[in-house]
C-alpha cells in the first residue's frame, strides 16, 4: 500500500528533512521523490510505502498536515487508490 505526499509552499531550508523525518517516525518508507523549486515556490511529490506504518493512516495524515501548518506549507497525504481509480481503467 502506498500513499502520495504533496508539499507546496514558499521555499525554505530543511523542508525535505522535516517531512522525511516525520515519515521515518511512523515507519513509512519513501520510495520516490520528485521535487522542483520554481522562483521562490517549493513543490514536492513523495511516494511512500505505508504497509508497515506504526500508527493509523489517518493519524499520519493529521501529523503531516500539522507539520505543514507549523511551517507555512500545504501538505496533503492521500492514499494512492484515489489516483489509480481516477486515472486507470
Amino acid at each position: 500500500m502506498k500513499a502520495v505526499i504533496t508539499v507546496v509552499g514558499h521555499d525554505a531550508k530543511g523542508i525535505i528533512s522535516k517531512v522525511s523525518t516525520k515519515c521515518a517516525e511512523v515507519s513509512a518508507n519513501i520510495t520516490e521523490i520528485s521535487q522542483t523549486v520554481l522562483k521562490e515556490y517549493f513543490s514536492m511529490i513523495m511516494v511512500v510505502d505505508i504497509s508497515d506504518i506504526t500508527v493509523p493512516f489517518t493519524d499520519m495524515v493529521d501529523a503531516l498536515r500539522r507539520l505543514g501548518e507549523e511551517n507555512g506549507l500545504d501538505i496533503r497525504t492521500m492514499h494512492e487508490s484515489i489516483f489509480n481509480s481516477m486515472h486507470r481503467i
Partner: protein
Amino acid sequence: MLNINDVLETINMIKDENLDIRTITMGISLYDCAGDDTGIVCDRIYDKLTKTAENLVKTGCDIEKELGIPIINKRVSVTPISLVGGRFTPDDYVKIAKALDRAADTLGINFIGGYSALVQKGFSNNSRNLIESIPEALATTGRVCSSVNVASTKAGINMDAVALMGQVIKKTAYLTRDNESIGCAKLVVFANVPEDNPFMAGAFHGVGEAETVINVGVSGPGVVASAVKRAGNCDFSTLAETIKKTAFKITRMGQLVATEASKRLGVPFGIVDLSLAPTPAVGDSVAYILEGMGLEKCGGHGTTAALALLNDAVKKGGVMASSHVGGLSGAFIPVSEDAGMIAAAECGALSLEKLEAMTAVCSVGLDMIAVPGDTSAETICGIIADEISIGVANTKTTAVRVIPAYGKGVGESVSFGGLLGYAPIMKLSPYSCADFIARGGRIPAPIHSLKN
C-alpha cells in the same frame, strides 16, 4: 506507477476546482418498525436508525481523510414514512417526524430524507394523512426532508394531489415564515421519482430496495467548467468529448468512495448518482459551465441546447466509470444553490419560463425557486402541473421545489444560508389557472407511440 501529472491534476481538481463527493447516503428500510402505537413506532425508528447508521459519519470522515477528497454530507434516507404500517393520524405523523429528527441529531447528519408519500395514482388513508402533516412536520423539525410523488408516465398525473400540494406548500411557507419560509426548501413534488436518489431533499429508500444500501452522489461543476475553459474554442464534438472525459474521472472518484464506504460499513453498494450538483460557492456553478461554452448569460437563447449537450456528455462519461448508476444522474439547476444562476436571475437573463424549458433536457426540475409570498395556492399548483407534465410526457424525473417567501415580493430575495444558498424572488404570470386546477381527478397517462 503513479504519474506526476495525474497526481497534480487530481490535487488541482480538489484544491482549486471544488471537486468533492457531495453525499454518502445510507438508505435504511423501516418496514420492520411498523406498529399501531405511535410511541412504540417512534422508538423503533429511532433505535433502528441510530444503531444501523451509527458509524456512518465516522466512516465518511475517515475515508475523506485517507483519500484526501472532501465528502461534504453524510445522510440517511428511509422508507417512505407513509408506507411504514400503522393507523396514523396527521398528529401521529408529526411525532414520527420528530423521532426522525432526533435520530438525525444523534447521528450527526444534517438531513434525513423519506418523509414521503407515493400518490401518483391515488391516496391511501396513510398517504393523505402524511401529506396533511407535512407543514407541521417541517416547521417543527430541522433536518427532516419530505417528498411527494404525484405523477408517473405509467399512471398519469394525480391532479387532486397536485391541488393538495399547492396548499401544503403555502401552509409550510406560512408556518416557517420567521425563517424565510425555509420549510419549502425541504419539500419536493415529483413525477417519476427515482427510488435510489442520494440527494436531498428528494431522497428516500425505495420500495424495492434492500434492507440497507449505500448510495453516493458526486459533484464537480467547477472541474467541468475548468475543463471547458481549457478546451478553448473547439467545436461541439471536441467539447462533448472533453466533458465526457472529465465526468469519467469525477465518477471514478465517486465509485471508489462508494465501494470503500460499502466495505467498511458492511452495507451493500447501491448506485453512484452522476449529477453535477452546484453549490453557492463561486467556481462551483452549472450556469458558469454553460456560459463557458459561449453564452453571454445563462438563460439566454442557446441555453437549453448547451444544457442538453452538457447533461448527455456527463452521463456518457459517468456510465462507464461506475458499476451501477442511478438516482437523478444529470445536471442540477437549483437557482438558489448556484452562483451563476443567482446572477442570471438577478439581472433578468433567466426567467421561470426558460428554467422550465431547461428542465426538459436535464435533471431535475424547477428547483429552489423563490416566488412572491402572495402567490395563490392555485398558481403554485399550475407551476407544479406544468413541470410534472414535462416529466410524464418525456418519461423522465421532474420535480418542483418552490418557496413562496412569506411577506416578500419581486425585487426582494430570500437567504437560507449554507448549501441552500439565496434566491432572488422571480416574477410569475399574473393570469389565473384556478378553474383548471379546480377540476380535480387525474390526467391520463400519455401514449407512447405516435411520437412527435
